[in-house]
């Protein structure tokens, strides 16, 4: 059962009205432009035990994603495809408003938005991840942990997720005994079969203005948000209205255009980070 949250972070009325009136003038509390991201840090291969991983920071928001790989049975309706599972956890570690326990609706929504964008844009060629078609396939677990919540968890999490996939080196599956047994050889590693890149840009609406990358205080004054997933060539690869306000059709179109523009920042950060590790 989804319930109106009652444990929201409280922002003082004074702060709220200062945020709103600044945005009205095209300004932000932290000096940014409306379409500007905060400082972005991306570190691929951050966790050596993981088959892929990334540290992503946007402003004060810190997310570390990691990929673990196994071999298992495919889904009956997709016998020739690898399986990827995206899981996100909002641990109480990261924010006074996060509760202990299994992922709540917010963490589940975030994971599913990321999962859908990755899946629908065919970021990974899952058919190349069949080991013994119909019987044994790669199983990928992409775990996204939020460690510090300073607003815009979704864009930061997608940044960590996609960088994890792009930089992963997975162990080679070795088939033994007529395909009955498959083992992973951790000494031989290959990149994932990547076909596309994707980022998500969350556009917030404050009255009739739109901002990207809301920080945690700004999130409290948003009417609502439109999260737009975009491919590097500008296709829309997923969308999710979040929050209880509304958009007109015209506003949605404006938000999409803004997201597309802002997505370039994210792609260039990813590409920079990947280049750096390739050079190593």
């Amino acid at each position: 059962m989804s319930m109106t949250p009652s444990n929201q972070r409280i922002v003082s009325k004074l702060k709220r009205s200062s945020i709103v009136s600044l945005i009205k003038k095209g300004l932000r509390v932290d000096g940014r432009k409306l379409d500007e991201y905060r400082e972005i840090t991306v570190i691929p291969n951050y966790i050596s035990k993981a088959e892929g991983s990334a540290y992503a920071k946007i402003g004060g928001t810190l997310v570390i994603a990691g990929l673990k790989v196994g071999v298992g049975t495919p889904y009956p309706d997709m016998p020739n495809s690898g399986v990827i599972t995206v899981n996100a956890e909002f641990v109480p570690f990261a924010s006074p408003t996060f509760e202990p326990g299994p992922p709540d609706e917010n963490a589940i929504e975030l994971a599913r938005v990321i999962d859908r964008s990755i899946r629908e844009l065919h970021v990974i060629d899952l058919e190349k991840l069949a080991v013994v078609p119909g019987e044994k396939v790669y199983i990928l677990w992409l775990d996204i942990y939020v460690f510090d919540h300073d607003g815009n968890l979704l864009d930061t999490s997608m940044l960590a997720a996609i960088t994890t996939l792009l930089s992963a080196r997975i162990p080679k599956a070795v088939v033994k005994e007529n395909g009955r047994i498959v083992e992973l050889d951790k000494e031989v590693r290959e990149p994932l079969p990547i076909m596309n890149k994707v980022v998500t840009v969350s556009v917030g609406k404050v009255n009739d203005k739109f901002i990207v990358d809301p920080n945690i205080d700004e999130e409290q004054v948003l009417d609502c948000r439109l999260a737009v997933s975009l491919s590097e060539d500008g296709k829309i690869a997923g969308m999710q209205k979040m929050g209880s306000g509304t958009f007109t059709t015209e506003e949605v179109i404006e938000a999409v255009k803004l997201a597309k523009k802002a997505s370039k920042t994210l792609f260039s950060k990813i590409n920079e980070a990947l280049k750096k590790i390739e050079e190593q």
Binding site: M1, S2, M3, T4, S6, D77, M78, P79, N80, E105, N106, I108, E109, A111, R112, R116, R119, E120, L121, C224, L226, S231, G234, K235, I236, A237, G238, M239, Q240, K241, M242, G243, S244, G245, T246, F247, T248, T249, V252, I253, V256, K257, K260
Partner: protein
Amino acid sequence: MRYEKIKLVDENGLRIDGRKPDQLRPVKMEVSVLKNADGSAYVEQGNTRVLAAVYGPREVHPKHLTLPDRAILRTRYHMVPYSTDERKSPAPTRREIELSKVIREALESVIFVELYPRTTIDVFIEVIQADAGTRTAGLMAASLALADAGIPMKDLIAAVAIGKVDGTLVLDINQVEDEYGEADMPIAMMPSLGEIVLLQLNGVLSEEEFYEALKLAQKGIAQLYEFEKQALMKKYVEVKVEEV
């Protein structure tokens, strides 16, 4: 998810169930279908069938969950185990948890929640037969049930899912189109206010296709809105939607 090619739009531009791309499925709507609930409704769109029940405004336990200046909303979107091709476990899936959330947020933008501080309004949606478009049918049922319960709202919600199948944008997708198509975009609006209360896109669209999809959706939503109003007046309406 698409392991086999199926032709979804034929040479005449007709869909697998014979509809034109911009044609809705037949619709049935009925309000006040239950005894216990304060408001209730039944909505059928093609083979998708949904029941909604509303309880409230009523007290919440424990009290600390309430809000001093408004009603809270509690929403459950649920598919019964026999509603789907393969039996669905009765426990809420991650999908159902997500949909309950986006449906709650959609309803919160419609209800005058500030009229009922320290209470809860509970909206339950049970999908008894699933053939795509269950969240949009569910939102319409919920909005009718809320109206039936006499809860003040800015407008009704009308909602439909747009699909992209064989490269064509289509209105009100069915399950085969959802499974084998390229995109599914559910959208819900307050039609008379022109406000979007729910919008999701599962799939890939170009910017132009997206704008096209928005237009197509509005067309279907306008029709569905009329049926809703009729259902509220007559308590029951059944329409085989002809090409319009």
